[in-house]
Symmetry: C2
Subunit: 325 residues, 2 copies
């Protein structure tokens, strides 16, 4: 009996990203017992990606000598639009060819095991709530800033899904009605103004217009290859253009946060994703704007902090989700 | 025993507005048993207003021959910033001189009865959920569009308050980062672009620039007295300028709704407040924008509808709040 309980204290959690797949065996207390990585191979389309995802699960089970019957379930977090009632990836900007793919049931049928599918940023929010920086918060929002900007909402200690599970697209609120068109089709979204992609684009534009920057050297003159990562590196070396680009993005980020503070009166805004490695360079201007512009009582109540679990937030959140459902 | 139960099935609910105070005796099933009105007399400051508020309660008790001991409690809904942990009106644009007024405890001490204080738009959302158009919705948002734009959020069937009770300021999200300064101090808020006040201002501006409109006649040439109400009246008569002003405001409203749809994936957006009497003139362009710009899965899931309870939503929501706490 004791043994049986112990066995069911494991899930397989998978983080399906545009570049890589991370599968892990996770215990109920949020320990990652074992992990397995694969390149996503997104360019191959859904079939290839799903084969690799299952390949990672198979390898994990075999290596750790785990039988399916020992698992509580499988939980997949994926970037993009998720219809969580149907367990379908409706659309994913980083997974070409994914339109209404019933990923949950495909995995479920293969392993004959309870399977969950949630949005990656929602998973990250749940991960930070159960095991990370937001453990003491009842109501908070999370922004993952990387190539795009994702969001997760925790209300009353639970992940908020909305009507069909696609709530939390915090990167896709219009903050500049006359701004550029976003990948999502909307206008002037936070994502198109403050993501890593937006920063890189702005840096490339200004360098091409002749502004001096060490960024050109950092990429061997190949201006078009500048990404958010390089902008961060250049800023760290004190590059004026990179610092200015980041300051602009941080201002937009702050405006987005003012909106979130006025809407949610959250205890915390947690900032994760690759771009969050900029730390105070990004958070300090955003925090200042929140204090200047948001409703004072809400501005005083909110802590704006960095995520703690890094790349493992999605895995841990997906695991928590499976244990709790 | 039966009698006692019956007695406790009543609350006094008060809607404290910038112009008038409405106090009512409300039964558990949402029936308004009796009501009492007062002018707010906001210009007299907090002391005068609170005296009138209590005067309305006293008159109601006396007329209906109700003893305090027969009541479940008193519940006040008020426009403005509310710190609901402390029961304090932190600030109210329509109540001059109100800064950190501990209204809840002032009423509570006077009647020695459990007293609640909530924001008026939140109360309206709760009212529409319990007794109005949103009875079947688990997750929805409400916008009250009048002089300003207020908001209420219902999540998982419960009013969402946030960290200190000031959540739901849906009128105060920036949608135009280069837009006009809002009364709240923020920039380009939905309120400053799509409220009745915003429509009236835009109409006045355009008429002063020489554009033809029957609005000038409607106010006897007194352009500066044009309010949202007159813009609506003129539109109903087919006035091109009024119709255009409303179309513009409806576009901004639609952009605000796109944000809400992407953030909340709500089942419904309920639109109340005086300006909602414009009906489809306001909702049709907004709905179209949501379908064009919001995430398709969320856009398909949302119904955008008019509120049903009119001026009584706040009273009924406040009453429901008292019965449920």
């Amino acid at each position: 009996m004791a043994e049986r309980k112990k066995q069911k204290s494991l899930v397989i959690a998978v983080d399906l990203g545009g570049t890589k797949i991370l599968a892990a065996l996770v215990s109920r207390d949020g320990r990652i017992v074992a992990r397995e990585r694969r390149l996503t191979g997104a360019e191959g389309g859904p079939r290839v990606v799903i084969d690799r995802l299952c390949g990672a699960i198979d390898a994990l089970l075999e290596r750790e000598k785990i039988d399916i019957s020992q698992l509580q379930g499988i939980s997949v977090s994926a970037a993009g639009g998720i219809d969580d009632k149907k367990g379908v990836v409706t659309k994913s900007p980083n997974l070409p060819g994914w339109h209404d793919i019933p990923l949950r049931d495909m995995v479920k049928e293969r392993y004959n095991l309870t399977t969950f599918l949630i949005n990656d940023a929602s998973a990250a929010a749940l991960g930070e709530h159960r095991f990370g920086v937001a453990r003491d918060a009842r109501n908070f929002v999370l922004l993952t800033i990387g190539t795009g900007i994702g969001g997760g909402i925790v209300i009353d200690g639970k992940l908020y899904h909305g009507a069909v599970g696609s709530a939390g697209e915090l990167g896709h609120m219009t903050i500049d009605v006359n701004g550029p068109v976003c990948k999502c089709g909307n206008i002037g979204c936070l994502e198109v103004l403050a993501s890593g992609t937006a920063m890189a684009e702005e840096a490339r534009r200004r360098i091409k217009q002749g502004e001096p920057s060490i960024l050109a050297d950092l990429v061997g003159g190949n201006i078009d290859t500048i990404s958010g990562k390089e902008v961060g590196d250049a800023a760290e070396k004190g590059d004026a253009l990179a610092l200015d680009v980041i300051r602009h993005a941080a201002t937009y980020l702050g405006i987005g946060m003012v909106n979130l503070v006025n809407i949610f009166n959250p205890e915390m805004i947690v900032v994760g994703g690759g771009v969050s490695s900029l730390g105070e360079l990004l958070l300090a201007p955003a925090r200042r704007l929140v204090q200047e512009r948001a409703f004072p009582v809400s501005a005083r109540a909110v802590k704006i902090v960095l995520a703690k679990l890094g790349n493992e937030a999605g895995i841990l959140g997906a695991a928590a989700y499976a244990f709790e459902h």
